[in-house]
């Protein structure tokens, strides 16, 4: 296994060195092939996602297939523009000169993807890496085994095997891959493993992008507006919690912050919406994913074990160990020092924390590490400004949940413990590129004062030159300035 891994990587390096991935036509053909792969295998993809996570086709299309198609199409339409060098302004002093910044591929890149969106989180970075002209080794998560198998079997049928490889396996394979030298590592996962990835990358000075997580809060300030807005708020919260992989998403709403006096209104609205979307109880649960495996199931069940936490459940709480299902559960004010309020939940449990005044939500959020997203349902412009300037997160979304993921023009990434680096749209291309500065000079004219032996005249000349004081320079040259 080890030697075949090293052989694969050597081949990727050879392909890159020989310029196999440089041409725009190669990159476009690979992207088109990827689009074909998705179009021609939609049913198999739906099947694999159902098998691994119990995702319904609509959820799978909305969060995985559709997102990827959109991403490839967008990249194909913009690639020529992105690849073109960008002119940079040059001051008169250097005339005649031309300066530009040219993007170049980094080389051989390693992509680690996560199990919760096994297609999106594997293939979206892959789109970026290919569009930027790199060769790629993709290591999907083995915690979504059907999806991983699909990728291992299907990608070689559509993409250039010498340039794009998929490796199956678990944590041990991941560790071995990290020992080797890469030109970039792109990692989606937990902060704990993020540290290990960065520490391994440090040995080779490999740049990394870490897409991690955190507790993404939803601040709710719109319940006392019109009933229709309150209903939409509830729908968007429910959709933003249990919609994506039953809460197992880095951008899922982790917990809600609301004013005390509005808590019961919110809970009633949420209950109604949950029943309408997902069914009356755990027996009739539908339109929702399941928990990925026993380990995660147990972890989530344990969060509810604390009697003080269990006491705070106001809806749901039933579990089905055999089917790996936990019904949508709402908790009201669990203890703030409980695990459910200090760890990223990554599951279908929604704590609602009440505050005397909604403005306190800012301090509350700042007491925890920077999340990937802050959701805020509010129409108060002053409050919006405060949230923007007084909190720090990867993204802020007002009056909705999840949809920022669909914006190709917004950088998607974290800050602080939620990660660093970003992608989506052109940011994907940039994250797998090196922006090379290029300056073209002519041999004439020559600026003599650049060269020793140094004199006071030369010193004054250069001082004026560096200030771009062209008038002063003329005076100096005409003898009107003393050195």
């Amino acid at each position: 296994m080890l030697s075949s891994m090293e052989k694969s990587i050597a081949e990727l390096r050879e392909t890159f060195k020989n310029g196999g991935t440089k041409s725009i036509s190669w990159r476009k053909s690979q992207l088109k092939a990827l689009l074909q792969l998705i179009n021609q295998n939609e049913d198999s993809i739906f099947k694999a996602l159902d098998q691994d996570l119990g995702k319904s086709p609509v959820e799978s299309y909305r969060d995985e297939v559709g997102v990827l198609k959109k991403s490839v199409t967008y990249t194909l339409s913009c690639l020529e523009k992105w690849v073109a060098p960008k002119k940079a302004e040059v001051p008169l002093l250097f005339f005649p000169a031309k300066a530009e910044v040219m993007p170049q591929p980094l080389g051989v890149v390693l992509i680690f993807s996560s199990w919760n969106f096994p297609f999106t989180l594997a293939l979206d970075p892959l789109i970026g890496a290919i569009s930027a002209g790199n060769t790629v080794l993709l290591k999907p998560s083995d915690l979504a085994p059907a999806c991983m198998s699909f990728l291992v079997e299907t990608i070689p049928k559509y993409l250039d095997n010498k340039a794009v490889k998929v490796l199956a396996g678990g944590a041990d394979i991941g560790e071995r891959l990290l020992q080797l030298k890469w030109d970039k590592i792109f990692f989606t996962g937990s902060p704990r493993v993020g540290r290990l990835v960065m520490a391994a990358a440090a040995k080779h000075l490999t740049p990394v992008t870490l897409e991690l997580g955190g507790k993404s809060p939803a601040i709710v300030d719109t319940l006392s507006t019109t009933p229709s807005k309150a209903k939409v708020t509830a729908k968007r919260i429910v959709g933003g919690k249990w919609g994506p992989c039953t809460g197992q998403a880095c951008i899922a709403i982790d917990y809600v912050l609301v004013e005390e006096k509005l808590a019961s209104t919110l809970i009633e609205l949420l209950k109604k919406t949950i029943k309408r979307f997902y069914g009356e109880n755990i027996k009739s649960l539908k339109n929702i994913s399941r928990i990925v495996n026993k380990h995660q199931f147990q972890r989530l069940v344990n969060l509810l074990k604390d009697p003080n936490v269990a006491d705070s459940i106001v809806y749901g709480g039933s579990v089905d160990e055999e089917k790996l299902v936990i019904e949508p559960t709402i908790l009201l004010d669990p203890p703030l020092d409980s695990e459910i309020m200090s760890e990223e939940i990554f599951g279908p449990l929604l704590p609602i924390i009440t505050l005397k005044n909604i403005e306190e939500s800012i301090n509350f959020i700042n007491s925890k590490s920077n999340p990937l997203v802050i959701y805020a349902f509010t129409e108060d412009d002053t409050f919006k400004k405060r949230i923007l300037s007084e909190t720090s997160s990867g993204t802020v979304t007002f009056n909705d949940s999840m949809v920022q993921f669909l914006c190709d023009s917004l950088p998607f990434g974290g800050v602080g413990q939620s990660g660093f680096g970003r992608y989506h749209g052109k940011y994907s291309f940039d994250t797998f590129s090196h922006e090379k500065s290029i300056m073209h000079r002519g041999f004439y004219p020559e600026i003599e004062p650049r060269y020793p032996p140094w004199t006071d005249f030369k010193l004054l000349f250069l001082k004026l030159a560096y200030q771009f004081d062209y008038f002063g320079l003329i005076l100096l040259l005409l003898g009107f300035k003393r050195s």
Binding site: G107, L205, T395, T397, Q467
Partner: protein
């Protein structure tokens, strides 16, 4: 109070913790975010330079025997420019950038907001100790951060001067200088920073990045490498030679990360090139370059010994065609040119960072590209040629932080170009707006309204919804209409 911690006899982990705590409190209180604060700090820095130029030049002379012109221009003038640019453009840089939204999220508006990262650590180098300390600090201030600057102990006079001046001119509750060597740097690296910027060598860079990994701290590493110069025939040889000399010995006597490290030229052209060097070097530095006041010295005896080891290696010492003289007591080595050193010599396998210039010869100019790409990616690469095709090939094939055609090092002075490395020469970039960006978090913001809540987002999931969803994500209005009319397949 401000410099209490620095005055302590030992700067240990606890001292480092205290410093970070103090800066974090200042940051959380919003001091550094305020636009006026940033302006005042940058103006104070300008004043600091205006009022202390002779002292700065003196410190650089102490540490490096740096000629006054190099200090005035390459350290002070460049820094002043950087400061002035930040003052002029900062308001504009701080403004949110509008982002386009698509049909998929209609109706919505989006923007990207720059916010400071928080408390940042800048570790600088000894060769341009003033510039490489304060240039990153300018970016960090402009972006609204609190800062610890750790200057290099190998340039102690400048480090002390920086500590004194920064404490006197700038807001010590938000910007601190910590002097020291390995123990102090280690103590600092144990702390949690929001960003670390390190300028120096690859060995220490690995240690910095590994320490940063523990806290998931993003890093900028400005390293080095062997910056090659390809010299083609059919050029203005005199101008080319002078520009190479200016970039090599004119930049701290070759001790600069973007100094030409070695030259590649054709066997046919080598003799002419060597003669040109001999001629111009003598014009610049005289017959006794060891006495020239226009050359920095080698920084210390460690580096002096290191360079002599490169020069005196058996297979190399016979290749000297100019120079080679040394003055141990004054730590001076004369500008030295070597011809046809073997590829496996020490001098061709580590970054020289000194006044020795090997010339490697090849049969055809095109062979130089493979030679360069067989090594690690350097911070800069240079080529002198009038051949358009060769220029294109050079730009296409050579991967380096930055490239210059028909000159050397000058891209450093161009604030519209990102300055940074790739591969072994580093990661991240700065200068001009890139400095501001490197010390900022670019926060994505999406504004949605309550109107237009498509039921197709929510369960129950039906085939009809699937059709609509496909059309919506596909972005075509016609597709959406067809889906709504039930005319498209699920």
């Amino acid at each position: 109070m401000a410099s209490e911690v620095e005055k302590k006899a030992v700067f240990d982990i606890d001292s480092a913790k205290e410093v970070v705590q103090e800066l974090r409190a200042s940051f959380v209180a919003g001091k550094t975010k305020d636009y006026e604060w940033r302006r005042t700090q940058l103006k104070a820095m300008l004043k600091m330079m205006d009022e202390n130029e002779p002292q700065i030049v003196a410190a650089l002379r102490d540490d490096l025997s740096k000629p006054e012109l190099e200090s005035s221009i390459y350290e002070i003038a460049m820094l002043k420019n950087s400061c002035k640019l930040a003052l002029k453009k900062m308001k504009h840089w701080m403004m949110p950038e509008k982002a386009k939204t698509s049909l998929a999220t209609f109706p919505s508006s989006a923007e990207i907001v720059s916010e400071p990262l928080g408390v940042v650590l800048v570790i600088s180098a000894w060769n341009y100790p003033f510039l490489l300390s304060l240039d990153p600090v300018i970016g960090a201030i402009a972006a609204g951060n609190a800062i610890v600057l750790k200057p290099s102990e190998i340039s102690p006079a400048t480090a002390s001067l920086l500590a004194k001046l920064v404490a006197n001119y700038m807001d010590s509750s938000c910007i601190k200088v910590v002097e020291g060597a390995v123990p102090e740097t280690t103590a600092l690296l144990e702390q949690k920073w929001d960003k670390i910027m390190y300028t120096g060598n690859g060995r220490i860079a690995r240690i910095v990045m590994a320490a940063a990994a523990k806290h998931l701290t993003p890093v900028v590493l400005e390293l080095g490498g062997k910056c090659p110069v390809i010299v083609d025939s059919g050029i203005n040889l005199q101008v080319a030679t002078r520009r190479i000399i200016a970039g090599k010995w004119g930049c701290n006597n070759g001790q600069a990360c973007i100094s030409p490290d070695y030259i590649i030229t054709t066997k046919d052209y080598a003799v002419e090139l060597v003669d040109s060097f001999k001629c111009e070097l003598e014009l610049f530095y005289g017959k006794n370059p060891l006495e020239s006041k226009d050359l920095s010295r080698v920084v210390n005896s460690n580096h002096f010994a290191r360079l002599l080891k490169l020069l005196d290696e058996d297979k190399v010492s016979s290749k000297i065609v100019y120079g080679g003289e040394r003055d141990k007591s004054n730590l001076k080595i004369a500008p030295t040119v070597l011809l046809d050193v073997p590829q496996d010599s020490l001098i061709m396998n580590e970054e020289i960072f000194g006044p020795l210039l090997p010339i490697i010869t090849i049969d055809k100019v095109e062979d130089s590209f493979d030679l360069i790409t067989s090594g690690t990616k350097p911070l800069a690469a240079y080529m002198f040629t009038n051949n358009k095709k060769l220029k294109e090939k050079f730009v296409e094939k050579v991967s380096a932080g930055g490239l210059v055609i028909n000159d050397t090092t000058i891209h450093l002075a161009e604030p519209t170009l990102p300055f940074g490395g790739v591969g072994d020469s580093g990661m991240g970039a700065y200068h001009g707006k890139f400095s501001f960006d490197t010390f900022s978090h670019k926060k994505a913001v999406l504004y949605r309204s309550f109107a237009g809540d498509a039921p197709l987002r929510y369960p129950p999931y039906t085939n009809g919804k699937l059709r609509l969803l496909k059309a919506l994500l596909g972005g075509s209005i016609l597709g959406i209409i067809r889906a709504l009319m039930g005319w498209s397949k699920a």
